[in-house]
Amino acid sequence: MDFTYDEEQVALREAVRGLLGRAYGDFENRRRAVADDPGYDAATWGRMAEMGLLALPFAEDDGGVGAGPVEVGVVAEEIGRVLAPEPYLAAVVLAGGLVAALGTDEQRAELVGGLASGELVPALAHAEPGSRWSAEATAVTAQQAGDTWTLDGVKEPVPFGASADVLLVTAALPGGGTGVFVVDPAADGVTRDGYRTPDGGRAARVHLESATGTPLGEAGVDRTAEVAAAHDATRVAAAQQAVGAMQVALETTAGYLKSREQFGVPLKTFQALTFRAADMYVALELARSLALWATMVHADPDATPEEKADAARRAWAQTSAAGRHVGQEAIQLHGGIAMTAEYSTGSYTAHLTALDHLLGDARHHLGLLALDVAGHGEVDPLR
């Protein structure tokens, strides 16, 4: 068991930190980037592509660089540190991961290749009004007529759904199960309404009315398991993204306590505040440990889908709870200044909260873990 990055991974981290630091080290740049659609900076996205970041998890044959969850986690943590608004989780890990898992050779070449080069941003349209982090689609249905599949219903919220160049849409299959379809957003019957998410991100309602879709991979096969696996991979990367965000939220808070004076003394004179900062550190480090562990489980070629799902759930439950704690305390320990959009801290809190809504909050996942406590004795993370 070893928690340290190798030299290449350290070099990757430094490179990403450099790129994103230049882009968003000044928080005003981040505010500007999220102010207008598409909610991120296309030039930064392009530079991420040039650096190969968008190609990281994909096979070399598909245009990727054949790295894995560890490298993706490195990128995600750096994204979290500066709240880079680019749709890395949504496009690369979630949508890209599903294409890599299911797509035909041609689809992988086109979609993964386009994604890796920065030319094509995919989005996964999976959530439906009323659904709650389920891996199944029910409200959107797919109908087959000959070789043609048509989709009907509403997908919402779809992360970065309004600006995506291609949509992957999940739908209930006529014979049961959930299929995944590639949909051209410009096609007839597709209507998109985009809006902001609470953290300055973007989501959309995608309305499908007899919209044509191409099955991703073999037609008519239930893909619930693959949809779930893509979300689990996203939870693991999101956990590292949240760790990066919490780290900076804590550093900023500690810095404020050191520099800010009140009643004639620095705030750090008030032990009730510094002790709470210490508790934030504890929450962060515990979450970091589970996030790194889950990354290793996902990087392990021998890990079963069940083990990966369990690791993702555990890591995300811990990180999500820590994110609430750290996000809330970061604002409280600052006071009013952190309530303003101009100051960065509140945006970290908003982002940590938004990740919960994308992937399921701690209570949701603990509830699922609770169903299984009778099935094992001790939990042993050490393999």
């Binding site: 982090w133 919220p157 809006y195 998410t197 309602r205 006071g335 959009a341 909260t353 809504h357």
Partner: protein
């Protein structure tokens, strides 16, 4: 020890409930229920409806529209208002500057300001906080220098809530820089249309514009607008800040939101049936309901012991626990909303998700302020430890 309201108090409560649920315009109550932002016009209209019925300033001296109610009745009034989704009358006018002018103002000031304040003909803003003061209010720097009959004001105030609608602003200004910091402060009333007054919006983390910076550059204020004696402002400030006994904890509104969350939860499916059948959600609701009952009953106990006009030190319990529960319930709302809580930027035209889901996260983020402003929860703990426990 008596559990029940007296017959008279019960009738009083029933009458208020009837009024609030039938006489205040439905569009206003709907907006409150749906957690929408109220327009300035709605706030004014609601306030005037209350005032016309004698329900805006019941705690003022009878001479200026007060009703001489018992503390219990004021509590009932406040709770029934929240329960009925009626926005309370504008606090800057009715709870803050009105009572101060009634207590400390000259007869001319009373006649000039109190009727207009009671009817919201003047919209008052608060100019207390400054950028580098935080909870340390007395370290304020905005200065007023006498030039003949006129005070010349320079400086900056911040966190001025709804200052964009303000006609007048009541400020604390430093009128003597050479004495101990609390001793050199005065309270000055400033017409916000005066040259040199500038209101700049502050965007909050939920994207809302509800607070402002107010800048004063050589603003000339007639000396008759100073309240009470020169350099007595700290007395008036303490009176104003300590004046809140009733309504310091938003129990009624939090209870109502929790009841709404239960209804909303029944519309969400879960593996257990609806989300209200989910044992974790139900347990969290049960716990919050119990805590809110305990808080409500504590408020009634505090109300009963503050008849002498001084705030009960346990008011700090109400503020502390009240804001914690308000935040906890707002957090439950987003957990129940689930993925729909991502759609904060959507409206009825662009989203199929219900409004309560979309509005949850901005409200949650916005309410982080509840434990910061009006005396942060750290200040409240300090008061409890110091005043009550002698620590």
């Amino acid at each position: 020890m008596r559990l029940h309201l007296t017959e008279e108090d019960a009738a009083f409560r029933a009458e208020l409930r009837e009024f609030f649920t039938t006489q205040v315009d439905e569009d206003i109550r709907t907006a409150v229920r749906d957690r929408a932002h109220l327009t300035q016009e709605q706030i004014v209209r609601s306030h005037r409806t209350l005032h016309a019925a004698g329900l805006a300033v019941p705690h003022w001296p009878a001479e200026w529209g007060g009703r001489d109610w018992s503390s219990l009745r004021r509590h009932l009034w406040h709770e029934e208002m929240q329960r009925a989704c009626v926005p309370p009358p504008l606090a800057f006018n009715t709870s803050m500057i009105g009572p101060v002018i009634a207590q400390f103002g000259s007869q001319e000031q009373k006649e000039r300001f109190l009727p207009a304040t009671a009817n919201l003909d003047i919209w008052w803003s608060q100019g207390f906080s400054e950028p580098n003061a935080g909870s340390d209010l007395a370290s304020l720097r905005t200065s007023a220098v006498l030039d003949g009959d006129t005070w010349v004001v320079n400086g900056q105030k911040t966190w001025t809530t709804l200052g964009q609608y303000g006609d007048w602003i009541f400020t604390l200004v430093r009128t003597d820089p050479h004495v101990k910091k609390q001793a050199g402060i005065s309270m000055l009333l400033i017409d916000m249309t005066s040259p040199g007054v500038e209101v700049r919006p502050i965007e909050l983390i939920d994207g809302s514009h509800e607070v402002n910076e107010v800048w004063f550059t050589d603003v000339r204020v007639p000396s008759e607008n100073l309240v009470g004696e020169v350099n007595s402002g700290w007395t008036q400030a303490k009176f104003l800040l300590g004046n809140e006994r009733v309504g310091v904890a938003p129990v009624g509104a939090t209870k109502r939101l929790l009841a709404q969350i239960k209804e909303w939860a029944t519309t969400v499916t879960s593996p257990h049936g609806t989300l209200l059948d989910d044992p974790f959600v139900a347990a969290r609701i049960a716990e919050l309901e119990n805590e809110l009952s305990a808080l409500e009953l504590t408020a009634l106990r505090v109300v009963a012991h503050s008849a002498d006009g001084r705030p009960h030190p346990a008011s700090s319990v109400l503020k502390l626990k009240g804001s914690e529960l308000q935040q906890a319930v707002s957090e439950l709302a987003i957990d129940v909303a689930g993925p729909g809580a991502l759609a904060s930027g959507a409206d009825d035209e662009t989203s199929d998700l219900p409004a309560w889901q979309r509005r949850g996260t901005p409200a949650y983020l916005n309410l982080r302020k509840a434990s910061i402003y009006g005396g942060s929860n750290e200040v409240q703990r300090q008061i409890i430890a110091g005043t009550i426990l002698g620590l």
